[in-house]
């Protein structure tokens, strides 16, 4: 979506406020980092190494990346962000759809708080 929106905005992209352009960079970075953490989990699993902590770490990074991306896209879309596919949204509503999905990302498949508990206990142990 970051790619598609940049293409859809064309020259308008360069007219976005600098802060939005900076948010876009950080969204690209969040996606790259989340992907690398996910690769690490897959690699460990392929080796047969237990990867529970890494999986939770990756899950935290991925779901937060979803939200960072959603926020970056909405900032770039401006007032157009509240439209959906039926009311003339950019990219046929894909951004609006992603934003709504992203709000639930840190809840579905184990809330981010549970993932944090798993990572925290792995490094801190239990009292």
């Amino acid at each position: 979506l970051l790619s598609a929106l940049e293409a859809a905005l064309g020259d308008e992209f360069d007219a976005l406020p600098d802060t939005v352009r900076a948010t876009w960079i950080r969204a690209l970075l969040a996606v790259r980092v989340a992907r690398l953490l996910a690769y690490r989990v897959v690699h460990l699993q392929a080796e047969g190494t237990p990867a529970d902590t890494e999986a939770s770490a990756a899950r935290i990074a991925v779901t937060q990346a979803d939200q960072i991306v959603a926020e970056a896209l909405f900032q770039a879309l401006d007032s157009g962000s509240v439209r959906d596919s039926k009311s003339g949204a950019a990219l046929h509503g894909a951004v609006e759809d992603h934003w709504r999905y992203a709000q639930a990302a840190t809840v579905a498949s184990g809330t981010i708080e549970i993932q944090r508990m798993i990572v925290g206990r792995a490094v801190l142990g239990r009292g």
Binding site: S3, A7, D18, A22, R32, L37, G120
Partner: protein, 318 residues
């Protein structure tokens, strides 16, 4: 890319960690502030580790060796200009500067230097004054930009400049990882209000977030060094992106690490205090990460950003 770090690089990292610990670890950084000549011990240790034979652009093994040394140096705030010593151009050390206020960490330890700014302009430089001696930058030295390189000479150093940007962020990674580990150990060991500090859920969550951020930065740094070894200056965008991410993570994760130490976090008797203070030189120099972001936006628009989906000019032209 290969996710597996080869055994001999892991071994180099272990050897370097032991060597820097033998120098006193963070104590060497403390001692050097009182007596800057103590920095020579770090230089000598690096020589014994073979650091001066490593060319970060000499293939993936050497890039990863440079990665290992900078990361370990960062873990103890090693008082030596490791990245500049590793990144060479035409027999000189490559240093990164802001041309409006050129400052170089440990410039007094480098023989011949070529300085480059964020736009890729290059100059022969000399030291131009004393070490700042400030709390946040004890070994930073002003330099004078003497003779500017012509565009083709500056361009021929592109690969080394790219490696220097990336390795400066790898050094920051070392500071981040060490600080987060110290914080985790502190809250495991110390008790407050009748229980381990680590048993407070608010503390567990902060440690978890800092740890995930550090793990993510480590993966990004490894990936970026692999890109640098494959593409040289073609990985310039990746190196600047790593630099931005390292600054973002350092600010948040090291702040957490210091906060979780309570009052000890601001006492230099504790390593985390020294690390949080001394990371400011590699973090703030040569320019703020917001300036890097400014350049990075245009660079990604012009040259793209490797991803599953095209960004900027990666996109097939219609």
């Amino acid at each position: 890319m290969d996710l597996v770090v080869p055994d001999h690089i892991v071994e180099l990292e272990t050897t370097a960690r032991r060597a820097f610990a033998d120098l006193g670890g963070v104590d060497l950084a403390r001692e050097a502030e009182i007596d800057p000549s103590r920095r020579a011990r770090a230089g000598e240790a690096l020589r014994r580790l073979g650091a001066y034979d490593i060319d970060p652009l000499g293939g993936v093994d050497e890039a990863l060796a440079a990665f290992a040394l900078c990361r370990e140096a960062g873990r103890v705030a090693l008082p030596w200009p490791v990245e500049s010593a590793l990144c060479r151009h035409a027999g000189t050390s490559v240093v990164l500067v802001d041309s409006r206020d050129p400052l170089v960490d440990h410039a007094d330890l480098l023989d011949a230097m070529t300085a480059f700014d964020l736009t890729g302009r290059g100059w022969r430089v000399q030291t131009a004054g004393m070490r700042l001696g400030s709390r946040l930058a004890p070994f930073v030295v002003p330099v004078s930009l003497n003779e500017e390189l012509d565009a083709s000479a500056a361009a021929s150093a592109d690969g080394a400049v790219t490696a220097a940007w990336a390795l400066s962020a790898v050094t920051v990674l070392g500071y981040v990882e060490a600080s987060v580990e110290l914080a985790a150990a502190h809250v495991r060991d110390r008790h407050q209000f009748g229980q381990r500090i680590a048993d407070f859920q608010a503390v567990q969550f902060q440690v978890a977030d800092a740890l995930v951020a550090a793990k993510g930065l480590a993966e990004l740094a490894l990936f970026t060094m692999w890109r640098v070894s494959e593409l040289g200056s073609g990985a310039h965008t990746d190196a600047l992106a790593l630099r931005v991410h390292a600054a973002d993570v350092a600010r948040t994760a090291m702040r957490t690490a210091q906060q979780l130490h309570g009052a000890s976090g601001v006492s230099d008797e504790y390593d985390v205090s020294v690390l949080c203070r001394r990371v400011q030189s590699p973090l703030r120099l040569p320019v703020s990460s917001d300036r890097v972001v400014d350049v990075l936006v245009d660079e990604i628009r012009d040259t793209g950003f490797a991803s599953l989906f095209p960004q900027g000019r990666d996109r097939p032209q219609e």
